[in-house]
Structure formats: C-alpha cells, structure tokens
Amino acid sequence: MAEFQVFNRTTGDHFICQEGQSVLKAMEQLGMKCVPVGCRGGGCGFCKIRVLEGDFECGKMSKVHAPPDAVEKGEVLACRIYPLTDLTIECVPLPEAALAKQTTTKPLR
C-alpha cells in the first residue's frame, strides 16, 4: 500500500499518511496534534487546512465549512481528504469566536 508524506508548514510537523487514510486520521494515529480535531465527519469545520502542494481526493464536507470556491483554493477539511501524492498543508486559523472559546475559561459566554 502506498504511503505519503504530509508536511504541515504552519507547525513544521511531518507525518505519514497511508493510501486511503484521511490526513486527520493519520495525524491522530501518530499522536500528533498539529491540526485541531472536531467531529471527524466533515461537519463541524474544525480541522480546516489549506493544501499548498500535492493532489488528493475529497470526501463529502459541509458546504458551510468547505464551500466549492474555497475547495478550489485548496481549503478543505483534513478529516475528508485522502492524499494521492505527498502533501504540504497549512492550518487555516479558526474564526475568532472559536479561538476565544479555546482560550477562555468562560466558554459559554
């Protein structure tokens, strides 16, 4: 089975992704945390990344978090992309509201 290198330019992390495995799953299996993990189902938008180099196949993703014009630009959800070549990716910052929730102790406000 083929395996591909994924390089996260934002964090400097490298990891191996097996053919047919999603980028997020490969990362999680290696105990790495360089992309935020949400629902793992293409629904919540938490694991949004930008693919800078390389080819991949895409599974179904919520159009709210991965609208067609963003997908064209390589902005996809890591849980729903399957590499066909080595990939270079970068993290896409979460919306400010979500970031605030990650760092505050009053997340319900």
Binding site: G38, C39, G41, F46, Q102, K106, P107
Partner: protein, 307 residues
C-alpha cells in the same frame, strides 16, 4: 405537561451521505428503519417507542438539525397551543398532514435561538417494535448495535436563552429542571422538561444561532453504555468523550459523532423531576464538573464542535 405538550416526538437530522447515515443509525445505534419517502428521507424509530418514527434523516450538503417535534395530547391542545404561541407573538407555520408520512398536521415555529420546533397531535401508532402489547416479552430479539431504547432529548446551542425560556416555560408549559448561572446571574444553560425526565430539551448559550449539539438516545444500564463504547471502538466511530457521568442531570453518558459530524449521545440514569421541584443550579465557574463529573474539566470539543 400542564399545557398538553407530552414528550419529544421526533427530530429531523441532515446528513451528508444517506447510506453511511442509515448504517450508523441502524447498525450502530440500533434504530429500526420504518419507512422512506419520495424526498429521499429515511424514517427510523427506537424499539420501545409506540409511534412509527422518531428520527428522520434528510440528505443535504450541510449537516445539522432541521427541527425537533413534540407530541401533544390531542387536537384540542394543539389548537390551544397554536393560539397561545400566536398570542405570545410567535410566528407559526402550518405543515400539512402527511408532509412527514403517517404524521398529522404540525405547527412549526422558530425560537429566538434560531432553532425550529414543531407540535403535533397525531402520528401512526405502530406499537413497540418486536414485542406484543399483550403479555409482552421483556425485550425484542434481533436488535442491532447499541439497542437504543428511545429518542430521549436534544441539546441546542444558540443565543437569547431568556427569550427561549419564556416560550418553552410560559407558553408551552415546560419546567426548568436545571440551569447553569454565570457569576452575574445570567443563565447560560437551561435544561427543560415537560415530563418526569430531567430534560426533554436543553439549550446552551452560544453566539451563533441555530446550532445543533446532539440528539440523545436512552439506554437501560451503565453496562449498556460501556457496551456502546465497545461498539464505538469496534466500528472505529468518531468518539467525543466518555463513558463518564454528567454533573448536570447526573446521567451516565458517552458522546460520539455520526458520519456527517452530528453528535449523538447514548446515556442511562439521570435524575427525575416533578412539578414541585425547584431548579437545580450549577455555577458556570464549575462548568467542568457540571458537564463531566469525573474529569471535572471540559473538553474543548464539547463546547465548540457543532453542526
């Protein structure tokens, strides 16, 4: 039930891929497929429920929840509740009978948190699945996966909790069973019941309107919750957290995701509520313990990962 709203009746969930979703809700959760319609929607029920369906799946390009429906005792109560909603200033929409197969007319309205709810009085009574109504056996054979007993409640995230409270408590006759108050006394979470259950629907404050946190299904025992956790691993299903216990409601729980990223819960236990019970309060400062009683720390996903 003082205004005639009886119980949660159904929830319509949007999924990205119907085949994957049906497999998840039937093979893993143990719901039973009861019908499909010409829109492609799939109707499911849990075995102990007496009506034809409680979960409707609709394929869409964005996951989430379309609406949650409550069954009311009869048509007279439905008429009165509809009038009460209109008098209160809530805009109601008429959904004709049979828009959902074998379901009577529904009165739909959207509350200020951005979530759509429905009231209805009639749905085809098919009886509990796999057991007779005369000398019934303890449980049916042939159930799959987690063998979910019933669709129990849903949790929604959105703003304007006070306005939502007014509609559910003052118009629809729900009771506030539990709440989370911040240091200024603002209610940031409300668990509402129309029955003896500790909640039939719940809301947590969130700036964005109309977000869906989870649909929850009841299991009989802690052993069944552990078995559900085993099945989640066996099927490599996306897990959120658990098995653990909530502080709020004290239910024993596990959270996981359907293949489209909608969160599911299966749980057992939990407190009970009578109309003379005063609300239980959890402090927002202790939210970790309120939500996850054992860890006493929130996992960030619980608060931010929504559909």
């Amino acid at each position: 039930m003082k205004k005639g709203v009886m119980r949660p009746g159904h929830v319509q969930i949007r999924v990205l891929d119907m085949g994957d979703a049906v497999k998840h809700y039937t093979d893993l959760l143990g719901l039973i497929e009861t019908d499909r319609d010409d829109q492609g929607r799939v109707y499911l029920k849990a075995w102990s429920e007496v009506d034809k369906f409680s979960v409707v799946l609709r394929e869409a390009d964005e996951p989430g929840c379309d609406f949650m429906g409550f069954k009311v005792v009869d048509e007279a109560a439905l008429n009165q509740l509809e009038k009460d909603l209109v008098d209160y200033g809530v805009e109601v929409e008429q959904v004709p009978a049979e828009e959902l197969k074998d379901c009577g007319r529904r009165v739909r309205f959207t509350v200020p948190s951005g979530h759509a709810f429905e009231l209805y009085a009639d749905k085809k009574y098919t009886g509990k699945w796999g057991v007779s109504s005369v000398n019934p056996e303890a449980w049916p054979r042939g159930l799959q996966g987690m063998k979910a007993v019933r669709f129990d409640h849903a949790l929604f995230y959105g703003p304007e909790l006070a306005a939502v409270y007014d509609i559910f408590v003052n118009v629809l006759g729900f009771y506030l069973a539990e709440q989370v108050l911040d240091p200024e006394g603002t209610r940031v979470a409300q668990f509402l019941t129309v029955s003896m259950k500790e909640h039939d629907v719940a809301f947590i404050h969130h700036e964005e309107k109309g977000k869906f946190h989870h649909a929850s299904f009841f299991l009989d025992t802690w052993e069944a919750v552990l078995r559900a956790a085993d099945l989640i691993s066996m099927t490599d299903t996306s897990i959120d957290i658990g098995p653990t216990r909530h502080g709020l409601t004290h239910g024993q729980t596990i959270y996981f995701f359907d293949p489209s990223g909608n969160r599911n819960e299966v749980f057992c236990g939990g407190d009970y509520h009578y109309p003379d019970h005063k609300p239980i309060t959890w402090k927002a400062e202790d939210l970790g313990k309120a939500i996850f009683y054992h860890d006493r720390v929130l996992n960030e996903r619980f608060l931010t990962v929504l559909t």
